[in-house]
């Protein structure tokens, strides 16, 4: 399938020179006496590098042959993280170096979203929020509700987040994986 400049939008996935790109910016431009163009920024889904390209109106781009699958985290072996494709029940391996930010949130069975390009898993997206038990933090200071006061807490998944002072070890908290911030306590 081909995309035309009128199909351009953020999130569009295209293939150029064998590489998968996702469109992260587009702008219609038309110099006073000239033809119309669309300026774009495209992020290489394999390397993360962002390139700028300008296309003439009507120019066509090859749609990237991507599948988006739901998967569950299984385990990692120091080089790869392994996931189970929920539809095919096949194992999907992603190099850990490609998910350095995300891997800290992975816990067994966590539901994730994987973008696969021609059989090659490219991007693993975490749920926006995860819930995890606090395995270590300094004892709670009940009654201390000072605005903004916080302390570091280590979660079962391995991440350290800043939590309010009144939170205790053993409690389950909710964390935004996009910002790495504590968003609330989960009542059991």
């Amino acid at each position: 399938m081909m995309y035309d400049t009128s199909d351009f939008r953020n999130g569009l996935k295209v293939e150029m020179d064998g590489n998968p790109f996702v469109m992260v910016y587009f702008q219609f431009v038309k110099p006073g006496k000239g033809t119309a163009f669309t300026r774009t920024k495209l992020k290489n889904m394999r390397t993360g590098a962002v390139i700028e390209r300008t296309f003439r109106t009507g120019e066509k781009l090859q749609a990237a042959d991507v599948d988006e699958v739901n998967a569950n985290y299984l385990y990692e072996d120091g080089t790869f993280a392994y996931f189970m494709n929920q539809e095919s029940f096949e194992q999907v391996a992603i190099p850990l170096e490609r998910i350095q930010e995300e891997k800290q949130y992975l816990t067994e069975n966590l539901d994730v979203h994987i973008v696969v390009f021609k059989g090659e898993p490219l991007i693993m997206t975490l749920p926006n929020f995860i819930e995890s038990e606090i395995t270590y933090c300094e004892p709670g200071a009940r009654g201390n509700t000072a605005q903004g006061a916080s302390k570091p807490a280590t979660l079962a998944c391995g991440v350290t987040v800043n939590v309010p002072l009144f939170i205790d070890q053993g409690e389950i908290v909710r964390v935004d994986t996009r910002t790495g911030e504590y968003v609330g306590r989960v009542k059991e």
């Binding site: 702008q27 038309k30 000239g34 119309a36 390209r53 003439r56």
Partner: protein, 272 residues
């Protein structure tokens, strides 16, 4: 936020009218509904039954010059099909003025002074203008397609600050006079956004007719309808005196002066 932008827009318009009045420019009104709305190969007019909405008031304002007025301006909606984006809307507001006896250098001085006046009206400063020849920015031997591609991809983003770009290739003359290898026209940019386009006006009707025929031939090759010939314009243009004229995208000027990110932020109710 929106109310503030609209008040700033009103301040800019008031500053323009005051500036025009001080310099002896008379406000004129010409019809938006016209028998032929464009001249150039890459301009698409909005069609209304058998007529069109003007893409700029240029052709009608030249008839006003032919009628004997020497300094005229107009603030008017203009319409262009197939142009929608952060800096484009099908309907936008154009400020256009003409000065008999002037050339592009006089208009450069005027537009710099006017924009500084508009900036002061909203407490801003555009800084001093640079003046750059197109030949210093772009290889003049490039074919049109490659010329525009490189212009959009490389040159425009490099035009930071307030810049006047002058002396375009002759094949981009539109309705400007050609001197040697270049068209005697300039454009004004602010932070890479094109704000204005000015011509030393070509007044030879037969030369303009050749250019219209050439642009219509190119349109026909591209499968586009030709622009109709407006006989009254060709009659008037041969009678008008030597003049220079400039068109300013008023919405874009307000956008730049108010630090807005898109033209939509300085307009209300544009849904088409």
């Amino acid at each position: 936020m929106q109310a503030e932008r609209l008040l700033q827009r009103a301040s800019v318009v008031r500053a323009i009218r005051g500036w025009m009045d001080t310099r002896g420019y008379r406000e004129v009104h010409t019809p938006a509904l016209v028998p032929s709305a464009a001249f150039e190969e890459h301009l698409e007019a909005v069609r209304v039954g058998p007529a069109f909405l003007h893409t700029s008031p240029e052709m009608a304002m030249k008839r006003v010059l032919a009628a004997g007025l020497c300094r005229i301006y107009q603030i008017v909606p203009a319409f262009r099909e197939e142009e929608v984006g952060v800096h484009h809307t099908r309907e936008f507001t154009m400020l256009e003025w003409y000065r008999v006896g002037a050339g592009t250098h006089e208009l450069m001085d005027e537009v710099e002074d006017l924009f500084a006046t508009c900036a002061r009206a909203v407490g801003r400063d555009l800084g001093s203008f640079r003046r750059v020849a197109v030949s210093a920015l772009q290889d003049p031997s490039l074919e049109p397609d490659a010329w525009f591609h490189r212009w959009v991809e490389t040159v425009e983003p490099s035009l930071t600050g307030a810049v006047i770009v002058h002396g375009y290739p002759a094949w981009q003359s539109a309705l400007a006079r050609i001197r040697g290898a270049v068209a005697d026209r300039f454009e004004v940019y602010a932070d890479g956004v094109e704000l204005a386009n000015a011509f030393a006006e070509e007044t030879d009707g037969s030369e303009l007719r050749r250019r219209l025929d050439a642009s219509n031939a190119a349109r026909s090759r591209a499968g586009r309808p030709g622009h109709p010939v407006d006989a009254q314009f060709f009659d008037a243009v041969s009678r008008m005196p030597r003049a220079a004229g400039i068109a300013v995208g008023l919405d874009r000027l307000v956008m730049v002066l108010t630090g807005s990110k898109s033209i939509a932020e300085v307009q209300v109710g544009r849904e088409l």
